[in-house]
């Protein structure tokens, strides 16, 4: 009896720890059963290609969140970066455009990093302010107009969104490339250890000789860098950009990170699970569409999935399903 009880618990624990993976497999099975196109190779590649933009940024934001902070500015930073790279493409050529775009996002990330890391301001408010400011800057830059690339057919810039590397679509290569880099950074390099320590217990980190401010600063630079990568994919795919193209992306990215089980309190999380979180969002979207649901039904499902995932996680940590609050 006692044994059965502990067994029951361990099943629950597996559910909680690998819940996201199980949910992923289940979702794939259900969609696969009901739609014969879902598991087709072409379809899977199409989904992977689409998830690249959210995916790359989710890697950066995961690192910020593990360090104990939030980044809500990635959406409007994406708008700014895409507009910049697309607009400058025709004026100064793709190479310099990309360079300037990366300088701009890294500068924005550095401002976030200084304010949150060194001045220790609340990251939610700082990045909220940055969201607003970057939105404004983008609109000022474009004067409220949309931008596009004139000669869409003969520019090597097309490779990021439309091309492929060794037969694999570039967005997929970039997504998995950045994910592997992020994973190696977090788990195989001293920097990653310091990020976990800083997010897990900032005071202990400082008492251990870790320069907390610098670590947080760097996480924001990384996040900004991933935004730049996403802007390459987005700009190249559309070959043009609305000035609010990134609006709302911060939420999709954050949803993917949360789905991946990264705690918003910092100190825990994992790139691989974020990748699964991104894929779940992508396949839910695709699967629902294939089953004939309206496009935005995916958001309703995401709502339920987010709450269930986090609930399961919280419940397994406190060893009871319901919260003890009276």
């Amino acid at each position: 009896m006692d044994k059965a009880a502990t067994d029951g618990w361990s099943v629950r624990q597996i559910l909680a720890q690998q819940g996201i993976l199980i949910a992923f497999v289940l979702a794939m099975l259900v969609f696969g059963l009901f739609s014969d196109r879902f598991l087709a190779f072409d379809n899977i590649m199409a989904v992977l290609r689409q998830t690249g933009i959210v995916g790359v940024m989710a890697i950066g934001v995961t690192i910020v969140v593990i360090g104990g902070n939030l980044d809500l500015s990635v959406g409007s930073m994406l708008s700014m970066a895409t507009v910049l790279v697309v607009d400058l493409h025709d004026r100064i050529g793709p190479g310099p455009a990309i360079l300037i775009m990366f300088c701009a996002v890294l500068a924005a990330g550095a401002i976030n990093g200084v304010l949150v890391g060194y001045l220790r301001l609340n990251s939610l408010i700082v990045t909220l302010g940055m969201l607003s400011a970057l939105q404004g800057i983008t609109l000022i830059y474009t004067d409220g107009k949309n931008v596009d690339i004139a000669n869409q057919s003969d520019t090597w810039f097309a490779i990021f969104g439309r091309g492929d590397i060794a037969g694999i679509p570039t967005p997929i290569v970039m997504f998995f490339g950045v994910a592997v880099l992020g994973h190696v950074l977090l788990t195989r390099m001293p920097f990653g250890r310091k990020v976990y320590a800083t997010g897990g217990n900032p005071r202990t980190a400082v008492y251990s000789g870790i320069r907390r401010g610098r670590i947080v600063f760097l996480t924001y630079l990384i996040s900004a860098f991933t935004v730049g990568c996403s802007a390459l994919i987005l700009g190249s795919r559309v070959m043009g950009s609305q000035n609010n193209v990134g609006q709302g992306y911060e939420l999709l990215v954050l949803s993917a990170v949360i789905l991946g089980g990264t705690s918003l309190l910092g100190g825990s999380g994992n790139i691989l699970k974020t990748v699964i979180g991104v894929l779940i969002l992508g396949f839910i979207q695709n699967g629902l569409l294939l089953l004939g649901f309206p496009y935005y039904a995916q958001w309703l499902v995401t709502w339920v999935v987010i709450i269930l995932t986090v609930w399961l996680d919280v419940a397994s940590k406190r060893h009871s399903l319901w919260s003890p609050i009276a």
């Binding site: 195989r188 390099m189 250890r193 310091k194 976990y196 217990n201 005071r203 251990s208 000789g209």
Partner: protein
């Protein structure tokens, strides 16, 4: 004699176990009507567990609590309060943004119709209570604007809103000025006259002898005895409190102290400590004794680069250095095992290995990547050396016992191969066995040529491990003793500011 007076509250054979620790082991206690009953014991003796049981925050594993002849088992502070048992927390449980009156009647604001607060009744009733307490602030003052002492008065006022039978004071004078203390003692006298039973928890002997009628001593979760205050002495109480076991003997080892590793000259940090001059030699343990707030931990933090000194100099190997950051301190060979292992020493959600290697993680590389082998080497050797009991390096530090957690912190800093090791409260809240192990380790380190500074509030611990003892009082160094000349009386005098 005890039989004639019926106690208002009696605790019988209460046992409470936490994972890995037996916090209370069959404690028995009687509180009489109209008496001040002091509860004494060192950190970790079980006082706070007992209080929390009385106040309904914990449920005992076994044993009984009887209030006015009726067995009770309060399940929440609210229930305990309704029964007439009120706990005045050391950490204040006030809402800063609300007024005094709103805090006093928190959760029980008098209402008018439609859920409106009946301000007249609220302010009248509060004013009445504040008058009884001789408070000099108004019911409408915002609590956040009050001094800590006044906040404490608010907390006490809250106890008076119910028909209290037993009031428990937990270290009430810790942050009070002498003047404010007198007011508090008057209040306690009033409560006493009104027939309330009072439990008074404090470290300060002179207060206890001044106001208490009886004294109960706890040690290591066990009841050590109850004494009539009038018929006992500080010495007797102290003996009950800290006992005398063999491994707590005075340090008699003679050291062949080496060269001076660290020296401070007139070191000051704002109003935290002033004009501190002392030195530590290689192969020597220097103990810092003093009460909470004497500035010892702040001194340690300054030596470790966490605070900037406002005056004076730090010398390492005779040369003046500036220690501006912990990184800096580490480079100079200083390690600090901080006071609070959970808040400053460990990342609880990380595993044992990662915690131990954290300060030197930058060095444990093969190329740009971490070297798991080098990390594991360090973990293995300190796990063995400190006999850390853990199922493996992957175990999260959160799941270890306090003693093993502390060993992880010590291992983390020993692994830095420091020349000067500062340990702040090395054995707070850990079991007796681990305590002895850590004491032995500190002596062993000294023999191995380390310079060690030990900060502890436990006098026997200081006497047990130190070669020299520096006493501090209110941010100043009072006296320095050699192990041979120090004894408890002289130390107590020095840390109480009597020279």
């Amino acid at each position: 004699m005890t039989g004639e007076i019926t106690p208002v509250l009696s605790v019988k054979d209460v046992v409470k176990t936490f994972p890995a620790v037996r916090a209370l082991d069959g404690v028995t206690l009687d509180i009489r009507r109209g008496e001040v009953h002091a509860l004494l014991g060192e950190n970790g003796a079980g006082k706070s567990t007992l209080m929390k049981i009385l106040a309904g925050m914990f449920t005992p594993d076994s044993g009984s609590i009887t209030l006015d002849g009726r067995e009770v088992a309060p399940k929440s502070p609210l229930e305990a309060k309704a029964l007439g048992i009120v706990l005045i927390h050391q950490e204040l449980s006030l809402v800063e943004e609300l007024t005094v009156a709103e805090n006093v009647f928190l959760g029980a604001l008098p209402r008018r119709s439609f859920g409106f607060v009946d301000w007249n009744a609220l302010h009248r009733q509060t004013a009445e209570i504040l008058r009884r307490l001789n408070c000099d602030f108004a019911p409408t003052s915002i609590v956040g604007d009050l001094s800590i002492a006044r906040k404490q008065m608010v907390e006490i006022a809250r106890a008076l809103t119910v028909d209290a039978k037993v009031v428990i004071f937990d270290e009430p004078t810790a942050s009070l000025t002498d003047q404010e203390k007198l007011v508090l003692f008057d209040i306690i006298a009033d409560l006493k006259a009104a027939g309330v039973g009072i439990v008074y928890i404090s470290h300060r002997m002179e207060e206890i002898f001044r106001i208490s009628d009886r004294i109960t001593v706890l040690r290591d979760g066990a009841y050590r005895g109850t004494l009539d205050t009038a018929a006992t002495s500080e010495a007797e109480v102290t003996r009950l409190m800290i006992g005398r076991s063999l491994d707590y003997s005075r340090n008699t080892e003679t050291v062949a102290a080496g060269a001076i590793v660290l020296e401070t000259r007139g070191l000051s940090c704002g109003d935290l400590f002033q004009d501190v001059s002392f030195s530590v030699r290689a192969g020597e343990v220097v103990g810092f004794s003093g009460l909470i707030g004497a500035g010892r931990s702040e001194l340690a933090e300054t030596l470790f680069g966490l605070r900037r000194p406002t005056a004076g100099a730090i010398l390492i190997d005779g040369a003046e250095v500036s220690v501006e950051t912990p990184t800096n301190a580490i480079r100079h060979g200083i390690s600090l095992v901080p006071e609070s292992r959970k808040e400053q020493g460990l990342v609880l959600g990380m595993n044992c290995r990662d915690n131990i290697t954290l300060p030197q993680i930058d060095a444990l590389r093969r190329g740009p990547f971490l070297s798991p082998a080098a990390e594991l080497d360090i973990y293995d050797s300190y796990q063995k050396r400190l006999s850390i009991r853990s199922p493996g390096w992957r175990q999260l530090v959160r799941n270890l016992s306090g003693g093993n957690q502390q060993k992880i912190v010590i291992g983390k800093w020993l692994a830095m191969k420091p020349r000067l090791l500062i340990v702040d409260e090395p054995t707070r809240g850990i079991d007796v066995g681990s305590k002895a192990e850590i004491h032995n380790l500190i002596r062993e380190l000294a023999r191995g040529g380390y310079a060690v500074i030990v900060i502890s509030s436990e006098m026997p611990e200081i006497l047990h491990v130190s070669d020299r003892i520096v006493t501090m009082y209110h941010g100043r160094v009072m006296r320095e003793f050699t192990a041979a000349e120090a004894n408890e009386d002289s130390l107590v005098q020095a840390i109480s500011g009597l020279n």
